[in-house]
Amino acid sequence: MRGVRWGWVLVAAVPTLFIGYFFVYPLVRILSLGLSELDIRSIGVEARLLKVGWFTLWQASVSTVLTLLVAAPMTWAVSNFEFRGRRLATALVTVPFVLPTVVVGTAFVALGWRDSIVAILAAHVFFNVAVVVRTVGTLWGRLDPNLHDAARVLGAGEWRVFRTVTLPLLRPAIAAAASIVFLFTFTSFGVVLILGGFHYATLEVEIYRQAVTLFDVQLAAVLAVVQLVGVTAALYAYSRFQERHTTTWALRTDQDRERPVGVTRLLAIGSVAATLIALAAPLAVLVGRSLGAGSYRGLFDSDRVVGTPIASVANSMVFAIIATLLATTIGLMAAAVITGRRGGLSRWFDLTLMLPLGTSAVTIGFGFIVALGWPVDLRASFVLIPIAHALVAIPFVVRSTVPTLRSIPGDMREAAAVMGASPGRVWREIDLPMVARAALVGAGFAFVISLGEFGATSFIARPNTATVPVMIFRLLSRPGPASFGMAMALSVVLAAVTAGVVMWIDRARVGEIGRF
């Protein structure tokens, strides 16, 4: 028994220490710095700030609902049926997710979508469809088809089966995807600035303005607290929801999907095609602009200013591999803790892990500066880049795996334990095979996040190593058609690498597990 408990302590300690030292501690330090000299009376509740808070909340809510609706048909198609191009399609939807905001922003502007709330919402859907398709799709693809068939045999129509059987079972995954999309859009920055024509501002924009432009650390801290409270409330509601609505049911391991026939085939392929076409318009602009004379060749030439652009791909790969290993290991440990223990503590642990997604990049970046100089000066160190990426990626691993872990009936674990398996062995033999696929989806997201991450890293003082997004940003910050063409070409390379890696991860089986 002794050994058992130590195992649990270790599994709980690693994520706790990581999130504690690299997120909670810097956050507390920077906020207390801002709030320590705060004279609460000096903060007038300006009408403008209320407006900013309200806008932040409603645009995030509407963006989340829209993303769920837009992603639903494609999620249904790719998780239930096998057809040619299915893998490619699920890989392609992740491409928007990694593209730098400024690149997508200029593509939207070129299409005439700007200066409106519609443009902001459209861009939010564009970026986040992948979150729903992949998070919900993982669970949907593994629901036991017998349930569906039994309901059909008993006389329920397809729609009724969906509403009364499938949807309740999918709720945890839908809620998980919704929570992530909500956090992403709640902290939206570049999209709102570029496409909103300054008629709109989120809390994130306002925090940047107060912290960077005006250096009003107090007001910035107050706004950061408001942002945290909002995010925490949303996450709390989500976790209560998830606990109340989790149904356990045996999942099949990744079985072969059926091939659709007749009307279903038309609907399935139509759904996928429609989603891809909608996402393709901004991407087509991007590809078109990258085809100028010598743009791709230029990526391989050494430029006296920015170096060899294509070299940034190697840098990004190294950071992404480290970040993925960190995020997957820590995220899985955290998921085991969250699902292993129910109750208040586990709920708050889960919630804290999610917070980095909903915290402004400026707050985290400045927090690192204040907090991580002692005892070992980690500021401006290489390790900070993958660590920052992992902070953003861990929620994806947790959200991808927790619904699956929760769906594993407790009696399976108990039966194994009764037969003498140690908790570690139970986890290895029961949980891990079930969760492996979901963990791979999480790992894929972690990798892709690290490849595309720019916001959080840009506020960290960091070594002069250009990742792909940094290189794109550098190419885009000087005039000339060759620079512009290369920035577009490098974006296309980023998109291609992303699609390739995601397809490769999707094909992978973790050795023998994954099937039994």
């Binding site: 600035l193 303005r209 006296r304 204040v370 100089g373």
Partner: protein, 345 residues
């Protein structure tokens, strides 16, 4: 368990001691904004390392404003030994927060006095650049509309409608252009100028990238004029896809604002002497002559010669505007708020 903890504590202590040792440095840390860091290669500081034996490690810190804030937030335990890229709009913040050690380079008499903006002895000007409106030559030739030569002409809707500016709260050239209008029209008149631009349909975007690459007519946009830099036309020639003799864009000399970028020694460094040597190197003619083609700004040392492509394709405005850094620091907040209320209604 206890032994392990002791071991960890000892290791950390040893690491802390190793960091704090005030010997002759093997390397110096230079905190710079990302645009400068982008241009740093193995060659940039090679001559400095050869002559002093000191390596230079560049730390990239986002934009100029964030970088100054990072330096302020870490002033008890500085991130670096030298900071570079503090511009005149953030100069007062850096000086007032006391993050800099006093230093005057022996080469500073080769720098025109007005570039110091009154902060001689605190910081050292390394380069300057003029924020100016750029225009697309083809658009003006095709439309037959003459290129404007004064700011007042921009008040006419014909021009205002085809002008894009950056937001002063999120963009450094945007702030500079706003300051230019304040310098030219004064507190009484500048907001009227902007009200006219707004009525005429001026475009406002968050950053330079969007202005130039989304809105400017040479890149498929609908604005024939954008706020950019005097050095943008030579960059158009250098980064053309096919070799060209003449830049497709030009500079309007009215309404330019001169931004100066400074280097300073961060208070708390263990190596103030070496840090001074690094600043001297950055002001030396050999380093200064690499500045234009690497960072597309102009060398502060007047002995440095400009490359031919710069002389040929750019226009240096005769009398670019500038404001006293202290005045900027005192009023920036209010000015931006006033600008926002005129432009956003």
């Amino acid at each position: 368990m206890r032994r392990a903890l002791t071991l960890i504590a000892l290791t950390l202590f040893a690491a802390a001691c190793a960091v704090a040792e005030p010997e002759n440095p093997q390397s110096l840390r230079l905190l710079a904004h990302d645009s400068f860091a982008a241009g740093v290669s193995d060659d940039t500081f090679a001559d400095f390392t050869d002559s002093t034996g000191i390596e230079v490690e560049v730390i990239a810190g986002s934009d100029a404003g964030s970088m100054v804030n990072q330096a302020v937030l870490s002033k008890d335990n500085p991130l670096a030994d030298v900071i570079f890229g503090v511009d005149d709009t953030f100069l007062s913040r850096a000086v007032d927060e006391g993050i800099l050690l006093e230093y005057e380079s022996q080469l500073s008499d080769r720098v025109p006095e007005d570039l110091f903006r009154g902060a001689r002895g605190q910081v050292t000007p390394i380069d300057y650049g003029d924020v100016c409106i750029n225009y697309a030559k083809e658009w003006f030739e095709t439309s037959g509309i003459p290129v404007p030569v004064t700011l007042d002409q921009l008040r006419e809707p014909t021009y205002a409608d085809v002008l894009t500016v950056e937001h002063p709260a999120t963009s450094s050239p945007g702030l500079a252009f706003m300051l230019a209008t304040i310098a030219l029209y004064g507190e009484e008149g500048w907001l009227d100028f902007w009200a006219d631009l707004e009525a005429g349909g001026v475009g406002v975007v968050p950053d330079w990238d969007t202005a130039y690459y989304a809105d400017f007519t040479p890149y498929g946009g609908t604005s024939a004029m954008v706020v950019s830099y005097a050095s943008s036309p030579p960059a158009e020639v250098i980064y053309a896809t096919e070799p060209i003799d003449e830049a497709p864009t030009g500079v309007i000399e009215a309404g330019c604002y001169r931004q100066v970028e400074y280097a300073g020694i961060l208070d708390g460094t263990s190596y103030p002497d070496a840090a001074g040597q690094l600043i001297d190197f950055m002001l030396s003619v050999e380093f200064q002559e690499t500045i234009p083609l690497t960072w597309f700004v102009f060398p502060a040392n007047q002995d440095a010669e400009l490359p031919a492509v710069f002389v040929e394709h750019t226009t240096l405005p005769e009398s670019p505007a500038h404001l006293d850094p202290a005045v900027i620091a005192e009023n920036r907040d209010r000015w931006i708020d006033q600008w926002v209320s005129v432009m956003e209604g």
